[in-house]
Point group: C2
Chain length 399, copies 2
């Protein structure tokens, strides 16, 4: 139903332009301030962190997006503007005002996002000086993507083109990840654009559905950031027949693909990670338990460390499953590692250990499958290995 | 109300003897099989793992201790006998039978415990050959302690002498920790002995209370082991006036001290750890939320990595608090790191960063205090830093 667009990103959909500059918020020379803008006002939907300590940009953006409309996004990396009290909210508002003035739109149409160190005030003088320097073009999506990176090692973006019965449209997305990733209703910064004409009620419903099976199933380290947000802008310039609940399958499928691709790329590019871990739980009593079980296994530090060392220590998968809260009956449990059975009906199943280690060493992903044989609940979660490098990165983040 | 006994351990209380041998279950030459026995039958209480995947020894020991009586404990390290199906239960029963035959007591009076790799069968031939070689003496507590160690770097034991109004008695305990530590209703292997005369109903109540404020407040890595157990044997040989609910304060206090000391020693000697982290939450709406919040902060990989690097990145404490589930109001929150205020009423509080880093570097513990200013709920949790060494240890545990 959809085709991947080569080098596609958030300016692939019609009418979106973006640009970025180095404002000096990061200590490196990298891009750290970016704007995305649509030619026309968009229907907008957002999903934000469930952390009770919300960053100032999250508080402001939730307010701005409440009416389901937005036209632009301004974002910086290097400073999260979180845990910054009243001054933080003043600064986030200032950022929206500066972007709005540059773009000639009302500040309420601007979504603001910040990522980086928590507990530090934004250098507003640098942002004020840099915003006029940003040049927006319809090829600027990739620069925007680079400007939101922190400890990410590579840009993470995608766009797909959909040929639906109602007409052709494009959905593109960009995300930053790396650390403090254990989303719950949201993830780190993710921005999605589409030129599809979409019914206003359908848009947030579709976004929640897509986030639920993608970003909410990724865990890097069990920590949920106060800055998490996913924002979807739909400017309607594709001119398709409006997508709604009764014919939304093609749009939903494309949105799920964009979100799942970006979610997996977060896990693959996690801080210090060398492997993508995919945990599938089958046969749980229901889908809710399957989700919880899959996330518990994908989040376990011991599972992650074993995978880093190519150690087929499957007992740790089972231990994590057993504490996940999902109902488990040991004597019914089958466990597969890279499609090889290691536990059958609760007892160890002999396997070629040397062969398994060698196979694990040679691939950059690991598949864990846990068959509970209790019902038909099924879910997949994504995570990564835990490396010495993760600790090194995170033990001196502000020093 | 109590005095620490120099070099005290689980054979410090009257009438307890212990011994250990190297049976060849571990690949090293270390002690790996031990027995503890009381001269007379004991009142016994146990707290076991809440992991739904329970090791065979846990299943058997829960059955044996159900009537509140036991006389001996047989334990091995190097193999957890968990995820081993029906054969595992047969082997655990065999271990109890072998110990019972040696000691001349009924097998139902023997508690069995195993710790080590999950998903591997016990080498029963080695255990059968080794049990007769164990020599039990009233100085054997320390050897018993060494025999239950896995990745622990030092033995963890304590004994206190209590002079209560009802008479004098002793409480001693031993524990192993190191990894897969995030107890929930229990912890890794812990054995406590006392010669106090204790009312049968009071004993399990006192043990649950002590475990609740000690082992259940420790987290090393968020994983709950299928082998967790705390077993308390009271042989009544001290001849004191029976301890009961109305006069149990001195006993409870001594038991809390033994459990808290052992719990903190688990955190201090965690896999790869260099620092003890103590997280106190004050002013929560109630004690339940305070406990949950304190454990969430102490368990956060990002908090732990920052502490490892002596990085006063306090935003991570607040992020973990915000996702803990406990109610938090950002604008009321005060945060202290090693008693220095870093956040006041939700805004950053300036502090001498270089001085803080230097102070953090020079001490082997870190105190985090979060004042929620919402009520009078208070709790303390213990954890450790996350080091590259933890990953190294756990990435090649079975290879």
């Amino acid at each position: 139903m959809f085709d991947l667009i080569a080098s596609g990103n958030i300016t692939s959909a019609s009418g979106f332009s973006a640009g970025a500059v180095h404002a000096g918020i990061k200590s490196t020379d990298d891009l750290d301030l970016a704007i995305l803008c649509s030619r026309v006002i968009c229907k907008a939907a957002g999903v934000f962190t469930t952390n009770q300590i919300k960053s100032a940009p999250v508080v402001l953006s939730q307010r701005h997006i409440a009416k389901g409309r937005a036209q632009a996004i301004v974002v910086n990396s290097g400073c999260a503007n979180a845990c910054t009290g009243q001054q933080g909210l003043t600064d986030a508002t200032g950022m929206a005002n500066l972007a709005a003035a540059k773009l000639g739109i009302p500040p309420e149409q601007v979504v603001v996002a910040s990522t980086g160190v928590i507990g530090v005030l934004l250098p507003m003088d640098r942002i004020r000086a840099a915003i006029p320097r940003i040049k927006l073009t319809d090829k600027g999506g990739h620069d925007f993507c680079r400007a939101i990176m922190t400890t990410d090692t590579r840009p993470k973006e995608i766009a797909v083109q959909v040929d639906s019965k109602g007409g052709r449209f494009t959905v593109g997305g960009v995300v930053k990840g790396a650390g403090m990733i254990h989303p719950n209703m949201a993830t780190m910064l993710c921005f999605i654009t589409t030129d599809a004409v979409v019914n206003a009620d359908f848009l947030p419903a579709a976004l929640h559905k897509a986030v639920d099976c993608s970003f909410n199933m990724v865990s890097i380290d069990g920590d949920t950031s106060p800055s998490d947000c996913v924002v979807l802008l739909a400017n309607g310039l594709a001119g398709n027949k409006p997508v709604d609940f009764d014919d939304g399958d093609a749009f939903q499928e494309a949105l799920n693909e964009v979100c799942t691709h970006l979610a997996k790329s977060i896990a693959r590019d996690a801080e210090g990670a060398t492997k993508l871990v995919e945990v599938t739980v089958e046969g749980a009593e229901d889908r809710v338990w399957a989700r919880q079980a899959a996330r518990a296994v994908a989040s376990s530090s011991l599972v992650k460390a074993a995978i880093h060392g190519n150690d087929p220590n499957w007992g740790r998968f089972v231990a994590a499953l057993g504490r996940s809260g999902a109902r488990v009956r040991g004597e019914r449990l089958d466990v597969y590692l890279n499609d090889i059975c290691v536990m059958k009906q609760g007892s160890p199943s002999p396997f070629d250990k040397a062969g398994m280690i060698s196979a694990m060493s040679s691939r950059d992903n690991v598949l864990i499958r846990l068959c509970l044989n209790l019902g038909d609940g099924r879910a997949t979660a994504w995570g990564c290995d835990l490396s010495e490098e993760y600790v090194t990165i995170n033990s001196a983040y502000t020093t």
